[in-house]
Every structure is written in C-alpha cells, then in structure tokens.
Amino acid sequence: MAMVQPRSIRARKLGAHLALLGFASLVVFPLLLVISISFREGNFATGSLIPERFSLEHWALALGIPWERTDGTVVQPPFPVLLWLWNSIKVAMASSLMILALSTTSAYAFARMRFKGKAPILKGMLIFQMFPAVLSLVALYALFDRLGQLVPWLGLNTHGALILASLGAVALHIWTIKGYFESIDGSLEEAAMVDGASTWQAFYHILLPLSVPILMVVFILAFIMSIMEYPMASVLLLDEDKLTLAVGAQQYLADHNQRWGDFAAAAVLSGLPITLAFLLCQRWIAGGLTAGGVKG
C-alpha cells in the first residue's frame, strides 16, 4: 500500500475502472454473441444480442437429437458433434498422460543427474522444438502411411497415429518441470538414498509427491494443446467419424454454406468445459508459464 497518495486518486480510479470495463466488454462481446446466436432461430449472424425468437433447435442438433420444426419438417443433425468431442477428449487424454510421463522422468534426470551430453541435449531439444509440425507433415504422413501397412492401428486415419505424433512435443514441458524440480531441495532425496532407497524410489516417493502442482499445470497445458491441435489432425484423419473437434468444427463454416447457428451451439457445447477448466486452474497456469522460464 502506497503511503504517499496524490489528490487526483479518485478520478484516476474511475478512469481505470472505465477503461477496464470498456476493454473487458470488447473482449467478452464475441463470446456473448455466440451464446446468443446458439439460442436464435435460423443460421444468420445478424440480430439483437438478446434473442427475439428463442429456439433450442441448434442445441438439439448439436447434441445429436433430430429437431422437428413448427411446420412439421424434421431436421437431422448435420455433424456428429458429440462423437468429435469424445474423439478429441480421448486423444487429448491419452497423449497428455503420455507426454506427462515422458517429460517428468526426463526432467528428473536433467535436474538431478550428471551425465554425458546433458547440456547439448537440453539445448538441442529446445531448438528442434521450434520447428513447427506443419512443416514436416509430408514426412509424418509418409511415416504413418508406411507404418500403417505393417501395424494397422498406427496407420493413417487412426487415433493411435495422432496420439503418437504428439509425443514429439515434450521439450518445453521438460524445461518447465525441470525448472520446478530444481527449486526443490535435493537433500531430501539424498537422505532417502542414504537410507537405502534406489534412484527410482527417491524419485517416485520423495520428489513426485512434492511436485504435484507443476505436474497438474503441465498436464492441463498438454491437454489444451492437444485439444486445439489442428494441422496434424487435419492431415492424418480422413473419415468424418474419426475427426477431432478442431478439424470438424470448421466444416460448419464452409465458404458457401455457413451454418452459423449450428456452429454456435456446437462451439459453446465443446468450448465451455475447456474454458471453465482453464479459468479454475488459471492461477497455477500463470505460475507454470513463468516457473520453467526465466531464471537468469
């Protein structure tokens, strides 16, 4: 609390509140708009923010229930949104759990052990991670095409391929977790090892329980990254019932046939859980973003 206070403090506070409110409404406007459109009749964007003609049609269609209009026509759900959502969650769960396992064990070795080639490997991983997956898509496509001829569940158009392909993106997570491990005093594990614990036991029983918060953060970040992954899924997945939400959702807004209302309902349905999860964990995530980074 500042002890010396200028006289104009009230006016300034008011100004700050107004500025923040103005900006916040600018930010929230598109999101409110989508919620409003999802409850509105028809597939157009125009109309007032509070729906004049309220309709649950888009929501029924998004949930996969055929909808009967007042004039008797029955509208079939255009896309299997729930299936896409389930695909996304399945892929994201599996890949973020695997990423977490891989990056935690590696981060442990990098934080606590001394071995040959440690510094170059760490830096090299960071450099290679900067190369976006979009650019090696041709190669990844070829890899899974060939692999699929031998191992069918790893071929093109399988979720196995998508999960496996995400395992390359571990470098940033390793750095984050490593930064956190280094902030924990190593003498705890050394004490355990003096008492006869093996390296693995010291890691599993001493260090891991102490680092649950950062592991949560990394899991959430990996999960969100995987849910939002677009380029790889768009090339590796082909059939409509295999698509993830990120790839499927854009079919609503094809150039010539924009199903704006249907999209809005599907977007709220699928985006809301992720948004809520993120907001609940925001404090941890903010900590995680800076934890592994700057120490110099």
């Binding site: 900006f23 891989l102 064990t105 052990m113 939002m228 677009y230 854009q250 925001q282 900590g287």
Partner: protein, 524 residues
Amino acid sequence: MFVTNASRGLPRHRSRHPAERYGRWALRTLTALLVLATLWLVVAFHLRGQWMFSLLFLVLGASLAIVFGKREWMSHRYIFPALAGMGVFVIFPLVYTIGISFSNYSSSNLLGEERVRAQFLDRTYQAEGQAFDFQLVREGNRTRLYLEAQGAVDPEGARQLVSLPLAQAVEGQPLAIEPTEAAPSGEALGMREVIARRDRLQRLTLVTPEGIELKMAGLRRFAPMLPRFEANPDGSLTDLREGILLTPDQETGFFVTEDGERLTPGWPVAVGLDNYTRIFTDPDIRGPFLQIFVWTFVFAGLTVVFTLAVGFVLATLLQWDQLKGKAIYRTLLILPYAVPAFISILIFKGMFNQNHGEINLILENLFGISPDWFTDPSTARTMLLIVNTWLGYPYMLLLCMGLIQSIPRDLYEASAVDGGGPLTNMMRITLPLILKPLTPLLIAAFAFNFNNFVLIALLTGGKPDILGASTPAGTTDLLVSYTYRIAFQDAGQQFGLAAAIATLIFLLVIGLSWLNLRLSKVKV
C-alpha cells in the same frame, strides 16, 4: 546433483525386496520385447525396400537395447523415452523433409518406379475385332450374362454366349461362358441394375471356350481386352497399340517416348538443387515467395508489439493496489486465452463476414462503411492482426503480471515521494525492469506467430490469392500455410517444392532459437 552408483560402475546392490527384483525382471522383459518389435519393423521395412524407415527403426532399436542393456547408461534411461519420441516425430521427419527437398516428389511422381511400371503393365486396351452386346438375365435367384456378337458373324467363335451364374464367380479368376442357341428364358434386367452392379461387372473377366478373355468395355459391351504395354528385358516398355518404345528416364522420373513426350505417372528421383533454384529464379514463384516472406515477418513482429502493448498496459492497471474487483477483471480479460483458439477464430470468421457479420453491421450503422474483410488484401491483413491481438494479449498479460510482482514495491514509494505519476512509473520503472526477462519469451512468441498456421488456415485460408502465381499463394499466407498449401492443396501436391521451403523456414527458425538461447543466457 548426483551420479547414480550404476553409472559410476559400482557394484549393484541386491535388493532385499522381492517386488523390486521382480520389477527389474519385468523391465528387462519389456525392453527385450520392444527391441524384438523394432527389429521386426526393421526387417519388414527392409523387405519392402524402404531403407529410410528401416534405418530409423534400426537406430531406435539399437539405442533402446544399449541404453536399457548397459548399466553405465543408467541415467540415460530416464531421458530415453522423451528423446526417442523427439527423434522419431521431430528429427526424423525433419531429415526426411530435407531429403524430399532434393527430389521431385509430387502427385505426379508419387509411387516407386516398380509400382509405376506395374501400373503401366496393368493397363489394357480394347482389341480390334469382335465385341459383344450384353444383357443381365435373371432366372429365379440366379443372374447370368447373355452376350450377343456385334456386327458380322465371326467365322471362328460362337455368335451367342451365356455365362455361368454370376454368383459362382471367384474374385480374380475368369468366369467361363458357353455358346448357346437362344437367349435364356429369364427376365432381362434394365440399365439401372447394370449401373448398380457396375463395379462388380468391371472386375469380371469372361473366358470363351476358345480361351479369349473378355472384359467390360462400356455399359452395353464386353470386348476382348489386351495388355497395352509389354516389358522389355532392358527395362523399357513397348506400347503394343501405338507400336512405340518407352524408355525410363532416371533424370526426370518419367517414361518418355522417342519424341521426348512424358507419360504420367512418374516416380520420384533426385533432382539436386532444382527446387531451391526454382524458388529463387522462377519469377512466378519468387515474387509470391518474397511477398509472403516479408508479410510473415511483419505479421509476427506487429503481433508481438500489439499483444505486448495491450497486455502490458492491462497488467500495470491490474497491479494497482487501489483498484477493487481485480479478480473479476482478470478472469474476464484472460477469457480469450481460455477459449479454444479454433473456436474463437471461427467465431471471428463469422463476425467479419462481409454480408451478414456483426462487425460490418455495426460499422455500417455507425460510420456507413462496410469493408471487404476477406477480398481486399490490406483489410484482410488488418483483420488478421486484430484477431491475433485479441487471441494473444492474455498470454502477455499473464507474463507481465507475473514479472511485475517481482519488482520491489519501495521503488514506487520512492517515485511517489519524488512526485512521479503513473505514466512515469510505467515507462521508467516497470517497463525497463520487466523487459530484460521478457526478451526471450518475446522471441519465442515471435517464432510462434511466425509459424501461426492455425490462425491463417481457419480465418482466411491465405486468401485473397496473389494473381499470377504459379503455386497456390495468398496475400495473407504465412510461410507455413503457403508450404502447407503447396503440399496438400490443389491437384499439384508439389511435396519437393514444399519441402524446400520448409527447409528454408527451418534454417530461419534455427537462427531465431539460437538467438533466443544466447539472449536468455540459459544455464543448464
């Protein structure tokens, strides 16, 4: 910081706990199984002639065996899985991409030479001579083909033939047909049913008692089909219908006629630096490439500046002790970061719609203008920057808030005593103090936006297109989306050219990351 006993070469302690001993054996068995599985892949890929993939799994299997087999590599066991993941899914694709950039791999040169040759040898043509009209005839629950010779009577063969029931046809084997005196007694099926069974009929081969093979040559006809090409011992093909010689050209990857005409499909061959020379010399590629190159830098740079400016100002406001309700503002302001990007980008795509989007509706009512967001290059670029600032500032906001918290409060006290206002505080204390730790993160953000594929793909798709470009190139394309379009959109699928651009981008990104590591002085 320690070195494990095992990697020092000290004797192993024999655990008193059976669980731990069994655990070790389980680990060994798992390793052995994994090594065997990779070896199987190595052999399988080798037998298919795909030596790149065979080599990949050989390296993977061998390193797995070494790291988990020798106790000196104990510490590396912890990092092996992550390194293997990066190796297979980041570094191998990268090397493979660089390899492709020296070849003419594309949709017209896709399959291996052997597969191309086999495709040519599979081709048939309809021989001169007898053709048959056919009818599908249903007798009870059996269907037969009834054939009637067209035109003049062939002295050798029969004029009317009937096949065995179609249900007896075995996939891949010819179905016998026999001479008959008159049409079968059953009901002749119409054209609709013929079309319904077209796929099956096309796979069918009929064989007459004389041994002539007939294949479907149209919706009404069966005719003798002959193989069109014949393989010669020296690797060339003879076109039996035209009577010309086709020689494989290993320089271009096509079979060529004596006049130099190329026949598609071809196969991939090494073309050296051709793709790179094309990028830098062909004016229809160089022009768009340079334009996209510049725009990519401008886009990434401006995005970082705008998001930082918005995020920093909001962060300083939110750090003000006197302000109430900060938690609510904070939650509202990081919403764009919390909503999945693919959803918010599509929301903006709808909002910016020229004819019935909300934004043009508001602009029309307030100022009487309605910009062409998607068809005019400069407004399309403006739109991208607006949307990306909306998407990106919360990240900067979170970073700035984290960093501002570590600035000692008494600096502001001292400033207040000396009569410094909020603006002075912001420019003289806060900004200089957080800019240094922020720099590496800004470079990372620059690199991220340099490669921001999802935004472009979902919002504009690179459009409006650059006129006169010989590859698919748009005025809002970034280098990544440009590469993606060359590789996966349109009929061309020029993987070689795309790989060459990808390699150039990789060099740029390597430079950026190296700069980042130098600036942030990362200690390992």
